[in-house]
Symmetry: C2
Subunit: 314 residues, 2 copies
């Protein structure tokens, strides 16, 4: 197995490219793919300040590393979600990564600073934990970007993530979600621009990047996501990809090229100015933003014991 | 397990309906679903003559049976494709079904009447056998409808078929195919209307219908389709359906409601009058229709030995 670039000994094959790489040229390929995504979708303009959302997993740590390698000014932001040992270890990994490099990282502890955690919010609202988790992340990312004066929020979503989300949206043909599933969401209504610079890289590649760069990341998946539909969609796509390498890339990028605009044009963009949340000041359509409503609902609740949702389907 | 309708002993559960049925009410539910599809998509108008394309498998025999039960005037049309023992057994099953009931069935033998068979065409054209098979079926169905003065060609595509085809089209975001994937294709340019009255029924239900009605059908799948992508898509959807009953119905019918028109409007309909094939007279854009070109390419070739493509993925 020889490196596509230098013909030296290869350590990894990338089947959808029908190519093998040595460590040096694999890392370069990964950086090139990130640079290409940034360029292709005009994600970050020169001189802009970027806030990378960091979980302690492979994708976000790789993203932070590559964006810095590419010369962008990037700081980190991490939320401790209160999901037992998983959150503690994730936050510790993010801190260790940032400390080793001397890169600025802000950590927000959901319970300490906002009075609730994800398991408790799931219990109180009787909804899946991923719902309170996503809502909290979106709110706190936007808030941190506004407070810190960042132009762009970057997340670690990779090709597998985006293809699986697309698959779920397609299973329901949810035109609104399909119209919004883009690698860049422009700044508007007081929300910062959101970008996904890893969309050209598969999960396996972000993991390999971290291993080859000596980045210690949390391998464990979130215990509350076990058995959720998103993981089922990933498994279905993995079976397709194994038969036809490149399928995930095709389904996602052909969607962006051929179909995305059809749904976006159908979905009316609420371009109207939003009001300000009466409690935190965030842009919102109501009197209180969804995050503050969640905070009010969960106020005073003791932390609930961590319960995984259920076993993953076998 | 009790029947949803009469509370008598049930013999089958339909998970996406969260219902069980006794034989009588299961058969009635199937007929009702076919009637609903015909009505919903204006498939057949009163007094029209229908040509049911019959393979000898469960779907097409069920379709013929139900359409007759619903009072339509339906004759059968069957192509012997020359796929070894599979084609011989399929044609025999179609003949036996028609003969028992005294219903008119036309059988066309591809090799006897047109000089080639599917395995030979696949060999000569170096394409997958499903390609020559689909082309031949479309051509001969249209031809039979014109010769016999039928208003409508009905095929046995069920919900599993349509969901899997949709899945394949979505994996490539092929806008033209997506715009044409409808349960009814209107009559135009000299082609008869095509309808799929079984789209509201799953494969398992068409099989159960045949068993409960005592219809002898060919259980074997086409040996040349083994390992094709369509079967992989069916397997992926079966995994999703097992986790979330109703997923196939939702993906297909939400597509029709939410997305189909977006693609159809993007795909320019060639409404221009077509010319006539110089050999067979069928409507075509070129001098010769695709079927006659295939016939010319395969002319004089000895039948090739039947070779399954490869083993199904494990």
């Amino acid at each position: 197995m020889k490196c596509r670039v230098c013909r030296g000994p290869a350590v990894i094959d990338v089947r959808r490219q029908n190519a093998n790489y040595c460590p040096e040229h694999f890392l370069r390929m990964c950086r090139d793919q990130v640079a290409k995504a940034i360029d292709e979708f005009a994600m970050i303009r020169p001189g802009e300040r970027v806030l990378m959302t960091v979980s302690g997993g492979k994708d976000s740590l790789m993203g932070w590393d590559v964006l810095r390698e590419l010369g962008y000014e990037v700081d980190g932001f991490c939320i401790s979600l209160g999901i037992g040992e998983y959150s503690a270890a994730s936050t510790a990994a993010a801190r260790a990564f940032a400390d080793e490099r001397g890169w600025p990282l802000e950590v927000v502890d959901l319970r300490e600073e906002h009075g609730f955690d994800v398991p408790t919010a799931a219990h109180v609202t009787r909804r899946v934990p991923c719902s309170a988790c996503g809502l909290s992340k979106r709110h706190l990312f936007d808030d941190a970007a506004r407070r810190g004066g960042y132009d762009v929020v970057a997340t670690g979503h990779n090709l597998d993530d985006e293809a699986a989300v697309l698959f779920g949206n397609v299973l329901r043909w949810d035109a609104e979600y399909l119209g919004r599933q883009l690698p860049v969401l422009p700044e508007r209504n007081g929300f910062p621009r959101k970008v996904k610079p890893l969309v050209r890289l598969a999960e396996r590649e972000t993991a390999a990047y971290c291993v080859l760069r000596g980045i210690d990341y949390i391998v464990e998946e979130c215990p509350m996501a076990e058995g959720n539909k998103h993981l089922g969609y990933k498994a279905a796509l993995n079976a397709i990809e194994a038969e036809s390498p490149g399928s995930k890339h095709v389904v996602y990028f052909h969607f962006l090229r051929e179909a995305s605009a059809l749904f976006a044009s159908r979905t009316a963009q609420e371009a109207d100015a939003l009001g300000a949340c009466g409690r935190c000041g965030a842009p919102t359509t109501g009197d209180l933003c969804a995050f503050c409503r969640l905070q009010e609902r969960t106020a005073g609740h003791e932390p609930v014991e961590l319960k995984p949702r259920r076993k993953a389907p076998t």
